[in-house]
Symmetry: C2
DNA sequence: CGCTTCTTTGACGAAATTCAAAGCGTGTGG
DNA sequence: CCACACGCTTTGAATTTCGTCAAAGAAGCG
């Protein structure tokens, strides 16, 4: 198997990863998950959690460059990022890569495939990644019996729409970069990481393909942000020094 | 009430619009709807359709410029366009309008609000518009009892993600315009209209704000398309003369 | 250590925005 | 009914900006 097509290899069953019992360790294990709200809500309780457990496949660790799923693959399950960073992308006719998004732990990927029954983009690990896989048929069947789960699924899918439209409101390279940085910072903060200082786990080229800029422009904008005292950038480590001004540039719609 | 904020005024109850009985007229009435698949599938049948009927509010006619919902309004119901064209947009801090999408009959608007519980954009009628409104709480409650309906809701929301990411893959003004025209044509064709010749129901300014171009650029690109024999444009009426070449420019990811 | 890939920097040119102005339709009010 | 005003659209010219090209430096990896 080609190293960049590891896909769902090195899969390990949920039963081996966490040995059945619903204890504290189990809950911690899923705290970062997009479904934790469901798992922890008292209305569902232990037996529903056990049912949910059966649906989960834990995949990984994957390494940078490994493909999680490929555009056109038949869609059977949605995947939640448990650890690491994932990019989703498509390749156009001229061979250029367009990055649709970067996905952090607790976020769900592959949802746009629900309507089409095959993935509409390719998902690639940017560093060491762990994945939780859910059979969509089975989780939606379960959702008919667990209204909270259905609500959570609706919310999850809906959130993706908002994410997708986030980048549609900005024009200049500076605005796009500011939105990207503020969004990344916000999402890291939601997960308990520092909102000021963090690693950009993706290359400048990935950022460029995401913001639809030339890599050189990404480099120049970041340099200008640094010169203006907005941020301190050292390779892939970044510290946001003036989030107020960056937010003003981002012009996030009020 | 300000004329541009008609919102859900002039509402008429479904019961008055179609008098209770589930007959052929009733089915025709909802044929163009995004939920017609559900309504017509034999698995659901008459009594579920009757239940669905109770959820629907028919709103309209609204006229060009009327606001259907406004960003920040609390989200209670999703809306399907029954007739006319709707744009969704946000206004940024500098007062510039950013158009997020144009919506045709049978399409659903406001889905990105599910996660946030308030609308994330404003919806405005571009011409004479009829709307079907569904209480989201009630339709999702019904969905727990009608798996087909749940599936359809998942698919609908999922489809929005794909739509939102459609414009993310293209760079040049020509590409963006070509994608816009081909997408509009395709969606019209899906609804039984001509895919070659149709009305652009929105202004050049709206198109510009959607494609993130200056209105002048929109004008020039359309003129160039006409000069190159790709299309014939007369004010807001357009005829696509060479869909193959336009599609080639669009470079829709394969 | 040498290769490859990523990143940065400078110079240049193509291209789109901006600015300015005129043409065109539509609706309003005299 | 006509004249006028307003907004939309088109066109031209000037300016800015970003992408392209070229090349050098830095980092990761076998």
């Amino acid at each position: 198997m080609h190293p960049r097509e590891a896909r769902f290899a090195r899969r390990q069953c949920a039963a081996t990863a966490c040995d059945g019992a619903v204890d504290d360790a189990r809950l911690n294990f899923c705290m970062a998950c997009a479904f934790s709200h469901v798992c922890l809500s008292q209305g569902i309780g232990v037996e529903a959690l056990a049912q949910l457990d059966e649906l989960i496949d834990h995949v990984g660790p994957l390494k940078a460059g490994d493909v999680i799923f490929r555009k056109g693959d038949s869609f059977k399950s949605i995947a939640a990022v448990r650890a690491g960073t994932v990019k989703t992308c498509v390749i156009d006719r001229e061979g250029r890569e367009h990055v649709l998004g970067f996905h952090l732990p607790g976020e769900v990927i592959g949802l746009s495939a629900i309507d089409e029954s095959h993935y509409r983009c390719t998902a690639v690990a940017l560093d060491t990644v762990m994945i939780c896989q859910f059979s969509f048929d089975r989780i939606s069947a379960l959702a008919t019996r667990v209204p909270d789960l259905q609500q959570q699924l609706f919310r999850l899918i809906s959130r993706e729409i908002g994410n997708a439209t986030l980048m549609m409101g900005d024009w200049s390279p500076d605005q796009r970069m500011a939105v990207f940085l503020m969004d990344f910072s916000r999402r890291l903060a939601m997960r308990g990481f520092s909102e000021k200082r963090f690693q950009l786990t993706m290359s400048r080229i990935d950022i460029a393909n995401y913001l639809r800029l030339a890599p050189e422009t990404v480099s120049r904008v970041l340099k200008r942000f640094q010169d203006d005292g907005l941020a301190r950038i050292d390779k892939r480590e970044i510290e946001l020094l003036d989030r107020r001004r960056i937010g003003a540039i981002a012009n996030v719609v009020p």
